[in-house]
């Protein structure tokens, strides 16, 4: 395990040396990796760093406000409202890989605009060790702005956490006094709720996914899951108030893990499961049923797409 205090001291010095008097940008997703990288870089170079948070419209309930509050101390924080542009690009697309690709592309476009505006010379990224390994293979590309260096000729890319694992990043985040809301934050995928919606991303499904994720996170807090989520996975028949409904099926998933590489579906008690079911079906007339996913990883992955 890394020694967080020594690590922080060393990296702050390294970043300051590397960037010097120039400008840097970092994409802030709200996740623990990019937040920790941003905090480290900000300690090193202050307002020479512009942190960019893109509100894709695919975020969890209240996420954008939390970010605004947590990173309020950075004068240079930019929040880009890009909801409509993302939803427009995603319209009609049902293929999971294509969805990821569209989101990645749009991210780059949004980010590129800001990077040019602030005349950024360096790109800071929250890449961690498993990201590099997985990107070298063909499993998936991790960083939403991973294609950015091909568009903008940066002087350099700074990845202070490239040798760390997720649990070590959390140690560093704690040592940096990042609020618990960040250091203990559940992993959330770059493409956001889009990968928790099977098929086309629509406003209607997004609304269901956002509210259901909120219920799940709230109800499962006491189980301290490594990750808990809800996904809109299809349609099925239900009956509500003597009317037949053909409504959404929401899958609830809650896992414990150290590093996300393997995961165990959590054993939840019946009352908790029923409470989630009741809150989700009760508040949304277009949800017909709620199911709980009992599959470990492997054979399933944690996210649905």
């Amino acid at each position: 395990m890394v020694n967080p205090e020594e690590f922080i001291e060393e990296k702050i010095e390294e970043i300051a040396d590397e960037v010097g008097e120039k400008n840097a940008v970092i994409g802030l997703s709200g996740g623990v990796d990019s937040s920790t990288a941003a905090a480290l870089a900000y300690e090193a170079i202050g307002d020479q760093l512009t942190a960019v948070y893109v509100d894709t419209g695919l975020m969890r309930k209240g996420e954008t406000d939390e970010i605004r509050e947590t990173f309020d101390y950075m004068d240079s924080l930019r929040i880009v409202d890009a909801k409509h542009r993302f939803l427009e690009e995603l319209e009609g697309e049902t293929d999971p890989e294509e969805k990821r690709h569209i989101i990645g592309e749009q991210f780059i476009r949004e980010f590129e605009t800001v990077a040019r505006e602030v005349d950024a010379d360096y790109l800071v990224q929250g890449t961690i060790y498993p990201d590099r390994i997985e990107s070298e293979g063909t499993i998936k590309s991790h960083h939403n702005v991973g294609g950015l260096p091909e568009r903008i000729d940066f002087d350099g890319i700074v990845e202070p956490m490239r040798d760390l694992y997720k649990d070590e990043v959390r140690e560093v985040a704690r040592a940096l006094d990042l609020e618990e809301i960040i250091s203990e934050r559940m992993p959330f995928p770059g493409p956001g709720l889009a990968v928790r919606i099977i098929g086309e991303v629509t406003e209607e499904k997004l609304e269901v996914a956002r509210e259901a994720n909120h219920v799940v996170e709230e109800e499962l807090e006491e189980y301290e899951p490594w990750q808990a989520l809800a996904a809109v996975i299809g349609k099925a028949t239900g009956v509500k108030g003597d009317n037949r409904v053909h409504g959404w099926v929401v899958a609830v998933r809650s896992v414990e893990s150290r590093d996300g590489m393997t995961a165990r579906a959590q054993e939840l008690d019946w009352d908790t499961l029923q409470r989630m079911q009741s809150r989700i079906t009760g508040a949304h007339e277009n949800v017909a049923r709620v199911v709980y996913d009992v599959t470990h990883k492997p054979p399933a992955t944690i996210e649905y797409e």
């Binding site: 694992y165 150290r258 590093d259 393997t262 492997p298």
Partner: protein
């Protein structure tokens, strides 16, 4: 310090093998499986898992380097395949939680885990017959050969993943392998 190389057969968990050893204070190096065997100078070799028996690079040559080898998942299957054993599809895939029964409590690699151990696995194929010189050292309800050892040549294999967090006694497997490596390299030092 003991120097171990981890050979990457493109498995998802390969970097966790490196991490498990690093966290134990071992001098560990991750190498591609096309590294020429003559460039490997190590006290022990770990062959990682991976998706494809046709993509094992120079792994067969590493078995002749006269240093202890630990094959994990595909890494074990390739040892069996190369040395005259047999690998085939399992009737029942082994995923996630598996309870493994240890058959030889004196085995240097996994004997200390006897009588049984809870592991995490991810495989469709399995070793059907161990090669000559090997003993089957563990088994489970879903897979006949969960581990095998050749203590003459110090070649070992486990079908499960000792490197993942959900395997209960994964560290012990690496510690036992290190002890074998240290013992074999001792006279040279």
């Amino acid at each position: 310090m003991t120097h171990i190389v981890v050979i990457d057969n493109h498995g998802q968990f390969t970097h966790l093998e490196q991490r498990a050893l690093r966290d134990m204070g071992v001098d560990v190096e991750l190498l591609d499986n096309d590294t020429p065997p003559e460039e490997i100078d190590a006290d022990g070799i770990v062959l990682s898992g991976g998706p494809d028996m046709d993509d094992i690079g120079n792994c067969p040559d590493y078995l002749d380097l006269d240093v202890p080898v630990l094959g994990i998942c595909l890494g074990m299957q390739l040892i069996a395949d190369q040395l005259g054993g047999r690998v085939g599809g399992g009737e029942y895939g082994g995923y996630a939680d598996v309870t493994v029964e240890i058959l030889d409590d004196e085995d240097p690699l996994i004997g200390s885990l006897a009588p049984e151990t809870r592991v995490w696995a991810s495989h469709a194929d399995e070793v059907k017959e161990v090669p000559e010189g090997f003993a089957r050292t563990a088994t489970s309800d879903v897979c006949g050969v969960e581990a095998m050892s050749d203590t003459e040549r110090n070649l070992f294999g486990v079908q499960w993943h000792p490197e993942v967090a959900h395997t209960e006694e994964g560290e012990a497997v690496f510690e036992n392998f290190l002890a074998v490596c240290d013992q074999q390299s001792a006279p040279r030092q």
